[in-house]
Symmetry: C3
Subunit: 353 residues, 3 copies
């Protein structure tokens, strides 16, 4: 379960400065790393930590390598993106200790005979798979998960326990759905008729690309007529709600508790802080970043960071600010009155002089 | 799977203008409808789409019918509420293609012998039903759902996968509970004693009326002593939290991520935008509409639309606004100073002239 | 199922004023209590209710006892914390009517032979327990729950249906996890590389202390390298998201829909109102109270109540306030202009006089 640095750079690239036979067996931050750990350096504020670290090796950019070598005399791997390199090293170690799921269908799973399950897939206890579903190579379906009619799961995708993936929905390869995620429940669509709500059948589905990760208890609703779409590489954290007919562009990431209302179209490479919200039918450009807790109430056409939260204060101070906010109209009126009076005074003053 | 227009109007009402033998087989919006589709027109901005649509028929109000007939020469169904009519047509088509669940209890379900299950009900794989529960005619209980002791499920109600419906709770007819909805978990009630929390047993239940829909991963807690109540026709979207002893009036609808704190009493025909929040023990009148992301901190006695969100801005602009909001007290003080000084100047000026 | 008041005070303390043979069989608020109920009095506003109550006995503080005895002539139990006493009485009654879960492993549960299950534990239908897990005495594991490899569950802890408790996580004694809670899913950690997200394996776990309650559909993520920690006595309501590497201090309570971003360190005895949010890597002192809907964007070092929400208003009024908030910079500029002009006028005025 250890890897020689020479093997690491052979597999992941980067330029090794140091002993290629030196072996590391785990990753750790600078301040807790021991002589069997590999660490990384990106933050100039941690220069002192780099000097003191016990790490066998540090992943570092060529530019920063010069900075640390005064204090740090261990091995270095030079690469332009040390944090991404560190992530890949960590993945290597994680793969080595991962318990490989057993291929095959657990005896307690209920699988419709017409479903097509790759022999290399692992279907866990208490799973239900309905007619016509297709489960790709090396998929792992955790205990109690439900896969509806004609759903399609791409190769290497993993569903943890209790994932619900409804009829007709599809996901690409290498996806990860965490426990309790619900994909393809009905969108929230009703017509009003004399004070009552008439349900609009939700006959679209959910189409999810490759390399998508969806967090625990996150929900993505099926479309009303057309599909809800999540493009390649999207990462959704826990407790997120994506309403019907949304379209989330590739490589966009959303932190926990985000909500996106129906038919919103979100660009590629966007990020959303926790609990950010997007109203329905809006359009958000590529590379837009929404701060945590902010409510997007209009379409955004320009890349950049957007925020809208009431600043936190001691409660007594907040009460004062909030009271004034409620009466900002009156304050504006006072300023207008002042401006008029002052203008008049200035004019008189000019006349007099 | 197609319906003649004559049959449609016979079943759903409305006045047909056009060939009663013309058949339609699905619903679609104006811009994507083909000659086998029926569409609807309510939004005057879509007049051009109505002229260009390929739809075999359009559902339209008598008032709007005149507007579209210049450009559109297909069949029309005239009705006062085209969108609700459209919803009902869509329901007809959806029923036709729906896969009827098999009546009976799946061999893997664990059902207490004292539970009473209607023979027409469908109990899915891996379901658990405890003692004394009653499941009505034509109910569908999805895979892995849990129904506690003495719970009662009215006729035609559907629970999707992993719904949890705790002991003593009840729901009326034609309800829909989406995957992962949890009804009747303990309310969040504690007494404090020397810095520790002492649990207050939650011995009430949840009572839900007819025609209620509850979204995926939404939670409705049981009452502390009395019941939590959800009246007829209420529609709750995904990821909503309804705390103990709330009372939600008939035909109120809440969008995703809404939270309602304990003992709040909400009127009939209200709507709540996504992520709106209501504090505990408040009372909200009928026909109140709360905007998305708004926090209700006091009771509301008048119908109308209410909002409270910090406007979104570019982050740099928000930082300026937020800094001023923090110091609104100082700004108000400056205005007072100005008012005093200006008043003094005006008086002097008057003396001088 | 009834208890004599003498037995009550023997078991729970307090000073009885009245007949020790009088029996009560349930708890109720003053206004609905009957002659078999015991109630409590803490709120001076309910003095009239105390006079009219049908309760057989009232739990009351010595100080308040004098106030109620003019109008109320039933039995009293005097104690310094009547509400906590009431909670304990309610617990006694609840225990009496509770249906004791059957010890043993349900025939449909799938339990790895290497898992160690206490004989007094109750493992429900459709449960999955993986290799090396340890389930303590008198634990109750509800239907469909999942317990991962080497997880440890302390004595007397209860998991309701569909709880997911991942590999390597641990919880102490007397815990309660409500349906759909997910403990130990991967934290949301990615490195960015040329516009794509590279997953950082989450190899820490979740460590939970004694007497912790976690609400329905709440999620607590496993740590990236170190563990996520929840100390003794913490109470989390429904739909809460706790991100990786958070540390929640003992006896802190969070209401529904709260979100805490990664690596936040929260003190002991804090409270969080519903939908409050905390950004990542912040530190919050002991005894801090965050109001509902408030976003914590900086570390808090002083105990106290903190708030940050935009005040609710009628929508038309809000639109005005929001428009001004957007332009507070311009308003501040106007005030500065006024101050300059007025200062100039005052100077001229002084010259002239």
């Amino acid at each position: 379960m250890s890897i020689r640095l020479g093997e690491l750079t052979q597999r992941l690239g980067g330029q090794l400065v140091g002993d290629s036979d030196l072996a590391v067996s785990s990753v750790a931050p600078l301040d807790s790393a021991s002589h069997t750990d590999i660490s990384f350096f990106t933050n100039p504020k941690l220069l002192a930590q780099a000097s003191l670290t016990g790490a066998a090796a540090i992943i570092v950019s060529p530019a920063n390598s010069a900075k640390i070598e005064a204090g740090y005399h261990g091995a270095r791997i030079l690469t332009d993106n040390p944090y991404a390199y560190f992530a890949r090293v960590a993945q290597l170690f994680a793969e080595q200790v991962a318990v490989a799921p057993t291929a095959g269908i657990h005896r307690t799973a209920v699988v419709d005979p017409s479903a097509i399950i790759a022999p290399s897939a692992s279907i866990g206890p208490h799973v239900t798979i309905e007619a016509g579903a297709m489960i790709g190579d090396r998929c792992v379906v955790g205990s109690g998960a439900f896969i509806g009619r004609n759903a399609r799961i791409g190769a290497g995708t993993r569903f943890y326990s209790h994932v619900v993936f409804h009829d007709g929905c599809q996901i690409g390869e290498r996806g990860i759905l965490h426990p309790g995620a619900v994909i393809g429940a009905d969108g929230f669509g009703f017509a009003q008729d004399q004070g009552k709500w008439i349900k609009i059948p939700q006959t679209g589905a959910v189409r999810i690309g490759n390399d998508v990760e969806i967090g625990a208890n996150t929900t993505v609703d099926r479309g009303a007529l057309a599909d809800t779409v999540i493009e390649d590489g999207v990462k959704l954290d826990n407790q997120i709600q994506i309403a019907h007919n949304c379209h989330i562009g590739a490589h966009t990431a959303m932190a926990g508790c985000v909500g996106v209302a129906g038919s919103a179209v979100i660009g590629k490479h966007c990020t959303f802080g926790g609990a950010a919200m997007v109203l329905g039918h809006l359009s958000i450009a590529d590379n837009v970043h929404i701060s945590s807790g902010s409510m997007v109430t209009r379409s955004i056409h320009e890349p950049g960071q957007y925020t809208g939260i009431f600043p936190l204060a001691k409660n007594a101070d907040w009460e004062k600010s909030a009271a004034i906010v409620r009466n900002l109209g009156a304050m504006r009126e006072k300023i207008r009155e002042l401006e008029k009076t002052v203008k008049m005074l200035v004019e008189k003053n000019n006349e007099q002089s």
